[in-house]
Amino acid sequence: MIDLTLPIDEKSIRKLKVGDEVSLNGRLVTGRDAAHDWLVKERPDSVRDFLKNTMIYHCGPVVKKRGNDWEFVAAGPTTSIREEPYQGTVIQEYGLRGVIGKGGMGPQTLKALEANGAVYLHAIGGLATLIAESVVKVHTVFKLEEFGVPEAMWVIDVRDFPAVVTMDSHGGSLHEKIFRHSDNIRKKLLHIDV
């Protein structure tokens, strides 16, 4: 298990390889469909300082209001591939060091990870209660009123957030490998010529 403290520098990210198990500590920001569209089309300055050198987490949490504070109740990853058209731009524009989600991403993101020194981390889909327990503080939230709870950008502190590197900054992708393997078996089962 490799401990990563966020924000983080490029050198530490470049050391990571596909298959490494990591534990995240520090500040990261949630963002999914509406957020990525907003980040690319409007290029807001308000979130820049929060995103620089840290990671964006594809997550639409369940949160509970306690007085003036927010508490994360359920916070597993959402499917990442929907952000494929935006992710490369967002990584470059905001200086991200990583993306956390599930299911992996495509070739554009893989290229952006390599060019900018960032990684894709896979969290376990549906691990909502356990991951919410690793969220120790909610700093602030962007676009809550306009986007609603799941789509808002929540700036949070995490402790011992577990994930696995499935796409690294050297062009490696576990998802590509598993897809090729399973597709070959599919062709055999279906008697389609390989």
């Binding site: 369940v62 499917t79 599930k102 691990l127 577990p162 598993i178 399973s182």
Partner: protein, 295 residues
């Protein structure tokens, strides 16, 4: 036979049904995940993922918090005795849904596609989705399925024949579409998944038929021996694909395959493949004025 009951009693029973559905899995699903875990190699990523999933299920049950933050499309199948108003039941389910959202058993999940505005309470047009049936029992039966968006996005439909899959209009063709759908679903629906398959019908009835298969017990067997054979052959072969839990590789890509059939038009042969993630949140209750029995 007249069923006389109080609104608040039914509403409270539905609220408890939602809480159970969101925060706890049915025993047959937990059992299937446990068996899968034992079957994966010691020290493998697949086994690690399934262990974490089992731990999450336990914690969610203890704390009464959602197993998955995507509390999904809420699909109800309600069986009513003659004489109960469907509009009354629908109103009470909608009220229970609002209350469940306030209690954070459900995430606000209903978005207006025109304005982009989230209703904030899980109610809206066709939300929650309620299907009514009539039956002869002196009770109201409510089945509830919470189906997350990640696995709904990879649910799909094939019109046979399909040239690229070499899939003809027969059960062999059905087999090919299900294998194809599971390979395409990897990384999006959270594996290991459960496949509900609707053979026949039209595009809407076929998909509903596919989703209704999720109410079957995972360890049951189809009463038609030919379909029972197809279900077990598919399960066995899907687990040779090597996709594994969360797509990290492994022996468990699917937990179950359940097939339903409906008559089709001569011109159509639809295979509707509904994908359910491992967080297969299905629960049911039987409501009478005297008692509520949950499954």
């Amino acid at each position: 036979m007249e069923l006389d009951f109080q609104d608040h009693a039914f509403r409270a029973a539905v609220l408890e049904l939602i809480r159970r559905a969101s925060t706890d899995l049915a025993p047959d699903v937990v059992q299937a995940i446990q068996t899968a875990r034992e079957n994966e190699d010691e020290g493998s990523a697949a086994r690690g993922v399934l262990s974490a999933i089992l731990k999450n299920i336990e914690r969610a049950r203890e704390k009464s918090t959602p197993i998955c933050q995507d509390t999904g499309t809420n699909i109800y199948v309600v069986s009513l005795p003659l004489g109960i108003s469907m509009r009354r039941i629908e109103k009470l389910i909608r009220e229970a849904t609002r209350e469940a959202t306030e209690k954070v058993y459900l995430r606000p999940n209903a978005v207006d596609p025109v304005t982009g505005k989230n209703s904030g309470d899980n109610t809206g047009v066709l939300a929650p989705y309620i299907h009514f049936e009539e039956w002869d029992e002196p009770a109201i039966a409510v089945k509830l399925l919470l189906k997350g968006g990640g696995c709904e996005n990879v649910s799909t439909q094939y019109a046979l024949p399909d040239v690229t899959l070499k899939a003809d209009r027969n059960l062999e063709g059905v087999y090919k579409t299900v294998v194809d759908a599971v390979v395409k679903a990897q990384g999006q629906g959270c594996a290991p998944g459960i496949l509900g398959v609707g053979v026949g019908g039209d595009r809407s009835s076929g998909m509903m038929l596919a989703k209704k298969q999720f109410f079957r017990r995972l360890d049951d067997s189809h009463p038609d021996p030919e379909l029972a054979r197809l279900e077990s052959r598919l399960l066995k072969d899907l687990n040779t694909l090597g996709i594994g839990p969360m797509g990290f590789g492994g022996k468990t890509t699917a937990l179950a395959v359940k097939i339903g059939v409906a008559h089709r038009l001569p011109a159509s042969y639809f295979v509707s493949v509904a994908y359910m993630c491992w967080a297969d949140r299905k629960h049911s209750m039987r409501f009478t004025p005297d008692e509520v029995i949950y499954d």
